[in-house]
Symmetry: C2
Subunit: 328 residues, 2 copies
Amino acid sequence: MTHTASFDGVRDAARQIAGVAVRTPLIESPALNDRLGGRVLMKAENLQHAGAFKFRGAYNRISRLTEAEKSRGVVAYSSGNHAQAVAAAARMVGTSAIIVMPADSPKVKVEGVIGFGGEVRLYDRYTESREAIGEEIAASKGSVLVRPFDDPFVIEGQGTTGLEIVEQAGPSTIDQLLCGTSGGGLMAGINLSMAALSPDTVCHGVEPADYNDTQISLAQGERLTHAPAGGTICDALMTDRPGELTFPINRRLADILTVTDAEVAEAVRYAFRVLKLVVEPGGAVSLAALLAGKIEAKGLTTAIVLSGGNVDPALFADIIEGRFPGMA
Amino acid sequence: MTHTASFDGVRDAARQIAGVAVRTPLIESPALNDRLGGRVLMKAENLQHAGAFKFRGAYNRISRLTEAEKSRGVVAYSSGNHAQAVAAAARMVGTSAIIVMPADSPKVKVEGVIGFGGEVRLYDRYTESREAIGEEIAASKGSVLVRPFDDPFVIEGQGTTGLEIVEQAGPSTIDQLLCGTSGGGLMAGINLSMAALSPDTVCHGVEPADYNDTQISLAQGERLTHAPAGGTICDALMTDRPGELTFPINRRLADILTVTDAEVAEAVRYAFRVLKLVVEPGGAVSLAALLAGKIEAKGLTTAIVLSGGNVDPALFADIIEGRFPGMA
């Protein structure tokens, strides 16, 4: 029980998820390269099973349950993508899943959980504690709580994204990498991989402007909660504090870039128009940072993660038709 | 000048477009496999440069122009995807392009041509002949007419799609392949590749129900024009007669499947919801045929081509929100 997240664990996770998770493509767009004057390698985790990178970590954790644990089921709390991933992985290994989700989760994500056979328990994001509800269910049923990021197996599963980026980039040197950061599981897993395989790649986290807890935490050198915020279209990135296990790993980040909702909406529309990819707002923050010029890409090779694609049709329609507030 | 389309030409085209065209991923979705009870390998040509497979053929043709030809520019007629591809390829090799497009072309395609620096000449799809207009411009300017399908270099360029499918499928045996068919350039190129590399793969063309000219032509053994039709959302597949060069090659097809506009809309929505890909209606006919059960996929490995992703936002919004007529 003293397993610590490491690059060896990432390699082990890669073996564990092989043939089950999708080895998503690393996509390059001549139009995007032209626009930025550099090369952009996009890891398309929106094409992952259940529509987000989350399946990697969930499957890496859940597939290691003992038969006794499987008989009691799993429980998870999540804004949506981890929820779907846990439900999908649970069904694959033959166990049940109860998912604690915010009542304001995108409908597409709640439906996704139900579609994968999961049981949904809604809670109020502003008055209830999802951790407390999750712990309570786990205690009463004896089921395993699958945490969204503060679990070494989950971090290592997400880290396979970084491993694959390096493998798929082949001989190309990756000068910099951008990845959305919320609880920090994906970012931490990728940091483990890049530190081992491509240590000179400069890694940057990306957060929504009002949900910059990792940014202020890195500045202060301790885990801090961001100021109360009024919401964001990046529903996948609303965790209010860096993870206990993820933050120490993510201290190797060069910095955190932030993007506004309007910048994210422009990126989602760009992905529709030019890349022909369905990317959800929270999955498009790295692309948004590039398109909004938050970091220099000219003459460089930049890897970014398009981390998910689970977006409600009505919001997506508003964005691609330019109706979202602040869009040009 | 007696160049005939062949598999050797496809191999040569692959060398010609290497590093310029996108080697698009062959994507697999566990959710789609589950639904159909078989494996589906999707060649994502919506991720191709300029948003459709057409760039392969256009670049393979235009990059072979002599300096004298380049100085006089190129001209093309197209419902949209070939138009954008010719404009993009022309700019890359340093020549100019005039594109003859139907006045009812999707706005996104007209804008695409202009965005790539092309000059647009609109015509009336129902009263004017695009071939005549194109020939006239070519004659008056001395420019090279880049035909959308009846050109051996164009057919060979499109054939690289099939070559890559076989290479990317690796050791997997492809039992059957589905591909949208209009003028038949992509289908013919793929037939050349499959005949050479995977002759046991059963190839099926797919057409919109009312635009079934290849279906009736194959049945009669000669190139026929389909009955007058009232329109389709598959704007990319509205050619009314198989090509002179493509039809003889496409006679090796097992058959033609047909799909309705409502079935196509369901496939576009499925691609949004589950695959997280933006596929235009004309690019989704093979997926539509599978989802609508027009062919058995259970226990088989089926390759399909998602041939383009250039769709107007308003139509896409209608489809993903289920407002298109006939959707469930």
